[in-house]
């Protein structure tokens, strides 16, 4: 048996919604937290936006309106892909350039992105077949995979990036705003 998994219940994560508290910044100890958490705040907020889209897609499947489901699933996949692009093309490479120690966590994150992309494909297929049970199964699995993945990013990688990429933080955060 391999040893790659981590429980959703076991992750360290700031509660996802409606909380203006700053996430804990255990790695980067800065005096000015508002400046120090630009990347953490922006990317965490984008995680929450994706959570909302996933919940909306699930609600559509529950109602059984297939035209809505297609739109909701497409919006979810496109929002998540946009988020991955910002991380894979900009945030992670720049972080890895400065801190080699980030290479291992980044690799784990990329492999989980790949896992999620497999589920995106499965979801698109299942929506095409109008297969309700499979859609719900995929969305449930995607939800749990995403939650445990986000926890690790929010508690480890983003605070680290805020510390490492101070001068570029605003520009990187804007990638999500202007996608």
């Amino acid at each position: 048996m391999d040893n790659a998994a981590s429980l959703p219940m076991t992750q360290v994560k700031e509660p996802p919604r409606g909380d203006s508290q700053n996430p804990a910044i255990p790695i980067h100890q800065a005096s000015d937290t508002s400046m120090a958490s630009i990347i953490t705040d922006a990317f965490t907020q984008d995680h929450h936006a994706c959570d909302h889209r996933l919940a909306a897609a699930e609600a559509c499947v529950g109602r059984g309106d297939w035209s809505d489901i297609g739109t909701a699933a497409e919006a979810l996949v496109s929002a998540m892909n946009r988020h991955f692009d910002a991380e894979e093309q900009t945030l992670f490479p720049r972080l890895a350039e400065i801190y080699r120690v980030a290479a291992n966590p980044i690799e784990v994150m990329l492999s989980e992105h790949a896992q999620m992309r497999v589920l995106f494909e499965d979801l698109t297929e299942a929506v095409g077949r109008q297969d309700r049970d499979t859609c719900l199964g995929i969305l449930e699995t995607l939800h749990f995979l995403t939650q445990q993945h986000n926890s690790k990013e929010e508690c480890v990688l983003y605070p680290m990036a805020d510390g490492a990429l101070k001068t570029q933080a605003g520009e990187i955060a804007d990638l999500l705003a202007h996608g």
């Binding site: 391999d2 040893n3 409606g18 804990a24 719900l136 199964g137």
Partner: protein, 427 residues
Amino acid sequence: MLNTGGLSLDQAPPIRVPFAFFLAAPLFAILAGGFLLWQGNLALLTRWSPAALAVTHLIALGFLTQVMCGALFQMLPVLAGARVAAVTRVAPLVQGCLVTGTLSLSGGLYWGGALWLVVGAVLLSCALLIFIGAAGLALARARGVPRTLQAMRLALLALLMTLLLGGLLVAVLLGAPIGGFTHWVDLHLGWGLLGWVGMLVMGVGYQVVPMFHVTPAYPPWLTRAAAPLVFAGLLVATGLTLTGSAVPAAWGFGVSVSGLVLFAVVTLILQRRRERPRLDVTLIYWWTAMLAALAAALVWALDGRVEPIGVLLLIGVGIGLPSGMLLKIMPFLSWFHLQHRQVTTRRFDVRLPYMQVFIPERLARIQFGVFLGALLVTVAAAGWPVSGWGAWLARLGGLGLVVSSVLLWWLQAGCVWRYREISRRLG
């Protein structure tokens, strides 16, 4: 300054570590149900009966603490950002001592053998001290959400207090000349149920309630105050007992209970405002556990019988909440490990099932239905044990607990069987 020590996100233990704890736990719930079935309302007439003491420890240690140990071994490396040293050797050692110690202690409490009590106390001390050491070390170094970590650290201290008081009580049973036995039992119960169970549920809840069902976050005032309130109340109760104060220790317990009531009410409100519309069995288990905790607090506040309070907390919360979590966590862990393996072995020709296939929701709902029936019947039996129906209700409750626990184990075993079957196909 950057602290990057031990920064690996790939440090969870092998899946067999938590699964061994998860699979053994329902066997103790089956034993506890068996005791109820066998003893009828003798186990519910008074909390001092040997049967009641045996059932209580089978559930509290054999089921609840076992699941919690498995879950914490899974989560500690992630919380601490570092692998628990020699987890594949430490975890079986803890489990071996926990299982044999629980059986020995429960047997000693029921049949009254001094040797069994001593063996049980020694083995449980080994299990829990090793566990508290490993968990405490990891939690001391942990980074992450401060409020969750705080609740968990306090829960671990409460477990230590419960263990120390338990050792004291065994000494009294063996003839040590220590007065105020009932007060020490109350403290043991308070630190165990309100402290260890209550604060651990809080720490876990702060994370998983918003995460599982996409609810709003717990309000900061609650996460700041609730666990410290429970802990402070227990300290006050202990201080009052130690000093032999005229003020009853119940004042301290009242403070702790209010912390848990706040947590339960806020949890129910947040879950009502969830975004994920699905009414899955994990959510229903959470509702049941929170309502059971509130009902227990109400009976306590009204100075009602303590036996139904014990049933509500031990079965309603102590068995219910972990059951609901296991039904979600085991399928996810199975899927996640298999998916990772598939990527590693590049066996994309093997089609992986999604989470629900590992534990089908329909069967899980049936399991919950039997559990709920058992809980309600046992609460009724504990509330009115001398009525004509008392003995039959207790036996029916026991039977329900046996059946629901067998079903739980069956569902878990099915999940492991599917995991292994697919794992073999992946090579």
